[in-house]
């Protein structure tokens, strides 16, 4: 991705006290990117999104969205942004149709063809009161309202919460189409598989601080190598723990899984001292990467 910067933050901070909040966030997200924002609960993801939309004000630092200042130009920014909050709440007594009409009118109107296409795509029930809808069906209405004005930038907080796999698939296809149109998506999630599947780059937040920003490919290059070794008889994990380069070892019955850096030679030689039934390589997945960054991040 080499487009113009769409979101730029400089030292963006929100201090809630007691170490909670967001601290010194420097970030640049470019046009057409699907950017993942990853971190455990309380890491500062939602705080960042709310700062970008001027729902809360920074303690220090600044953010520019689409070239505009988040504090001074909030109205123009919100005109160009589609937002899906985490824990989406809608008027429970009203139907989805009335809620979408209201939100569309707040935007001065939307193209009904775009809205209807989204409704059809996600299979949204517009005629029942919101309080009668399941979490997933409410979330679909949230997605429609975020996309229905074809915004230049989408800010989505935990977008697949409650969605069934088919709708998730539809949503991922929509994200790809949006990116192909050079529109930008900032997607926050703690569902690692979701970020892995759709994002070009991602940032990992931990306790309000940015741990790393990189592409998935680069992150995978620093991943541990893993081998799954199945023995005829159970072996002791301690036998492998002290080997050069070995970072973690786990044993489940006769199967030992070992993660290591550098050469596989010490592991293979240690395994050869036993009767080996099979050796299978295992790719380090994003969850492993994420957990390692989470654990290793300096205090």
């Amino acid at each position: 991705m080499s487009g113009e910067p769409v979101i730029v933050t400089n030292g963006l901070s929100k201090d809630y006290g007691s170490g909670r909040g967001l601290f010194g966030l420097d970030l640049e997200i470019r046009e057409g990117e699907i950017f993942g924002f990853l971190g455990p609960n309380g890491a500062g993801k939602s705080t960042t999104l709310r700062l970008l939309l001027d729902l809360i004000r920074p303690t220090s630092g600044s953010a520019r969205i689409l070239g505009l200042d988040s504090r001074q130009d909030g109205l123009a920014i919100r005109r160009a942004v589609g937002f899906l909050p985490g824990d989406l709440a809608l008027y429970p007594k009203l139907t989805g149709r009335v809620v979408l009409d209201y939100l569309a009118r707040l935007r001065g109107g939307v193209d009904p063809r775009v809205r209807d296409a989204l409704v059809e795509r996600f299979g949204v029930d517009l005629d029942r009161p919101i309080r009668q809808l399941s979490t997933g069906n409410r979330q679909k209405i949230g997605l429609v309202q975020a996309f229905m004005h074809e915004p230049e930038l989408l800010i989505l907080d935990e977008p697949i919460a409650g969605l069934d796999p088919l709708v998730q698939q539809s949503f991922h296809e929509l994200l790809a189409e949006v990116s192909a149109e050079r529109r930008t998506v900032l997607l926050s999630s703690h569902a690692l598989s979701e970020v892995e599947r759709v994002t070009h780059r991602l940032a990992i937040l931990r306790r309000g601080r940015l741990v790393i920003v990189d592409s998935l490919d680069n992150l995978r290059q620093v991943a541990l190598q893993r081998l799954e070794i199945e023995f005829v008889e159970p072996v002791a994990a301690d036998e492998f723990r002290g080997l050069p380069g070995v970072k973690d070892v786990s044993v489940n019955g006769q199967t030992l899984t070992v993660g290591f850096e550098g050469s596989a030679d010490p592991v293979v030689k240690a395994a050869a001292a036993h009767d080996v039934r099979a050796i299978r390589p295992r790719e380090d997945d994003l969850e492993d990467i994420f957990l390692r960054y989470y654990r290793e991040a300096p205090e």
Partner: protein, 260 residues
């Protein structure tokens, strides 16, 4: 002002508003129908001054006194204040606590603009209820055999509406400034109820009689709209209080973080 927001705010409150309005008309009709049977008997009762003050003064044997004690000093202001206060608090701080406001304010609408639109919706609720009181009075007074002019009934409804605006604006100011619905409900309800009590009892004690001037209630009913008609001074004070508190709300919502 954002008219879609006013419309949706009114739509959300229309069922409770209309049912209240219908109930008020029915109660006032029943009160009027009752007067020919019991009015003269009640008029001869020797009521202690403190109780008489709570009921808006003596004179229950007249149609004016009868309706003053029933609607003007108790049901009318308390019902209209309750609707205005709960409406203003729930449409602002309530929606904020529920998380709805975060979605709405992610749209291209200014915070002050949104609050003004919500205030307009609550004002319409108050107007509907005040209109119901007026209609109920017209019907009730007719059933009671007459005795209050249309101008004085209109004066009561108008004074009541502006009193409702002020009570709602107080809740709006606290709700917009803090984002706390319980606080907004509590503060505004306390001010109204204390005002009613102070206005009723303070005049009995010379040293604190002046306290009545600090209550919204005095500027609503102090001049007895059913008996004397419009009170331009009272209306002006209530209108100014409403405008000032609404201004506080518009500024307050813009100066703070939205609650999660």
């Amino acid at each position: 002002m954002s008219s879609p927001t006013t419309w949706i705010g009114l739509r959300l409150r229309l069922p409770s508003t209309l049912s209240t309005a219908v109930a008020l008309v029915a109660v006032l009709a029943a009160v009027g129908a009752l007067f020919p049977a019991v009015g003269h008997t009640i008029g001869r009762l020797d009521v202690p001054t403190s109780v008489a003050n709570l009921l808006g003064g003596a004179d229950y044997g007249t149609v004016t006194g009868w309706f003053r004690s029933e609607i003007a000093v108790i049901y009318g202001p308390l019902v209209i204040a309750a609707l205005a206060i709960t409406g203003a608090a729930s449409t602002t701080a309530g929606e904020e606590e529920d998380g709805i406001l975060a979605l709405v304010l992610a749209h291209p609408v200014r915070r002050a603009q949104l609050i003004a639109a919500k205030a307009a919706a609550i004002a319409l609720v108050v107007v509907i209820v005040a209109a119901a009181v007026w209609l109920g009075l017209v019907v009730g007074v007719a059933l009671a055999g007459g005795g209050i002019g249309l101008a004085h009934m209109t004066a009561l409804a108008v004074q009541l509406a502006v009193f409702g605006f002020a009570a709602g604006a107080l809740a709006l100011a606290v709700a917009a400034g803090t984002g706390s619905k319980p606080l907004a409900d509590g503060v505004a309800a306390a001010v109204v109820v204390l005002g009613w009590l102070v206005n009723s009892f303070a005049p009995l004690v010379g040293a604190i009689a002046w306290l009545k001037y600090l209550t919204l209630f005095y500027y609503y009913a102090g001049n007895d709209p059913l008996g004397r008609g419009f009170d331009p001074v009272g209306l002006s004070v209530l209108a100014l209080v409403t405008l000032a508190l609404t201004a506080v709300a518009l500024v307050g919502i813009g100066r703070r973080d939205l609650r999660a």
